[in-house]
Assembly symmetry: C2
Homo-oligomer: 267 residues x 2
């Protein structure tokens, strides 16, 4: 495996690009191949078997593109397919849940750990199970916050309605004396600043995207796969369906122009 | 075809139950068989061919249950499959778009007609095309309002955030002097009271669910298919996947207990 190869990243849609953004910032010399499975988004309401099949198809595509590692930047796909992908493919495969859980355990000072995410992620119990496996006596408060993805996609980050909605969702977290809040959805990093203003130091926010990039750096380093080039890496984005909103959303998530999108067919 | 047979109604999920509620209110002696394709919801981001195939599978299921008419209570399925369903099945098949368009044209006094709906519905141009086909000189203002479905599903109808969001979405409708606003999504009837408070008589609201029930009554009458029984009709609900939220949402949408849900497999 050559260290100069790109990293493969996938998500059911546009959300995983917050992970790409963190990788670009932390590891600017790495090239990235991103696949957004926009034809089949959202994964949250599909069966575990179907999601596993999709994840296998996508990983096969990324491996054929000669990536040196695969990042599953989708909470649902991580919950249901990570173990299977590691059985089938022999390269480093990272999921988005472990790094968030690790960072939450590190940040936690004995208080309750809060988790917010989509209905699918919260119902999968993936974060809850991973936290309890590491520390069975943990107090956990998990809450599905389904309004946050559309708020981010509408770009209403500065809208007063967003403040009201975040405060409503955080009420229970404050009541339950949460001291560590896991942002368990790849869309949520865009709300981090607003969240920080609302919690005002009462709880630490754990951003899965940020921790995913740190975990990737650690993994690449330990396998001597960090790219030795001094040029900036490139990012190529593939989608399984064109949607007029994808490009605009992608550029907001990455805070840069994304250039040419390529559509592919899977399955 | 016997007038005592039930009416089949389907939607990609729970939303079509607002149509069921209107049918129950207007035609209390009719029995209803409802299918929510919860395993494959949402339809909005799927290809027209896929949606057509789903609609055919569901109609086949309803016809096998011996319904006397089929109501497509899903905007996306109506947009992409109504014509094909009418070619394939020989019983009255009603879509949710025509009645809304008819009512909007009737209500309109020469001003702009506004349409709000999901991203999928607005992008399908189904309402816009149907309106322009009837009246090519119409001024139309269509707006995707993706926050409204999760607001309804969260049951935040009375929350101050909902008011802020509705006011934001309606800004452009007020600016463009919309005098008739089509609620182009089966979830939106639950927001009608709030919307009415905000528009304060400046525009007429056209509720597709309500107009769908009126259109159904007219169709059944003209085919002599109105149920002559004097007993109250029953409603049987089928889903393609169980979801913990479906039952609670369904009972809110129907304003009554729904009893036993049955899961079926299609395709």
């Amino acid at each position: 495996m050559s260290a100069e190869l790109p990293i493969g990243v996938f998500d059911s849609g546009v959300g995983g690009l917050t992970v790409v953004k963190e990788i670009q910032d932390l590891l600017p010399h790495e090239s990235i191949i991103y696949l957004g499975d926009t034809a089949r988004v959202p994964y949250g309401n599909k069966s575990p078997e179907t999601i596993q099949e999709y994840a296998i198809q996508i990983t096969r595509f990324l491996v054929a593109k000669k990536v040196k590692a695969v990042v599953v930047a989708c909470n649902t796909a991580t919950a249901y397919s990570l173990v299977r992908l590691r059985e089938l493919f022999f390269l480093p495969i990272l999921g988005v849940i472990e790094p968030g859980v690790g960072a939450a355990l590190e940040a936690n000072c004995g208080g309750t750990i809060g988790i917010i995410g989509t209905v699918g992620t919260i119902q999968s119990h993936a974060y809850q199970n991973a936290l309890l496996q590491a520390k069975p006596e943990l107090k956990i408060q998990a809450l599905a916050t389904p309004l946050l993805v559309p708020l981010v996609e509408e770009d209403w980050l500065e809208h007063p309605a967003t403040d009201l909605i975040l405060k409503e969702y955080l009420k229970v977290m404050i009541q339950e004396q949460v001291d560590t809040l896991v942002l368990g959805c790849t869309h949520y990093p865009l709300l981090k600043r607003r969240l920080q203003e609302i919690v005002q130091g009462r709880m630490k926010l754990v951003d899965s995207a940020e921790n995913m990039a740190i975990a990737l750096q650690r993994t690449l380093k330990s396998h001597q796969l960090l790219n030795p080039c001094h040029e900036m890496g490139t990012t190529q984005i593939y989608v399984t369906d064109f949607s007029p909103r994808f490009q605009a959303l992608a550029e907001r998530f990455l805070k840069r122009s994304i250039g040419h999108l390529e559509r592919i067919t899977l399955g």
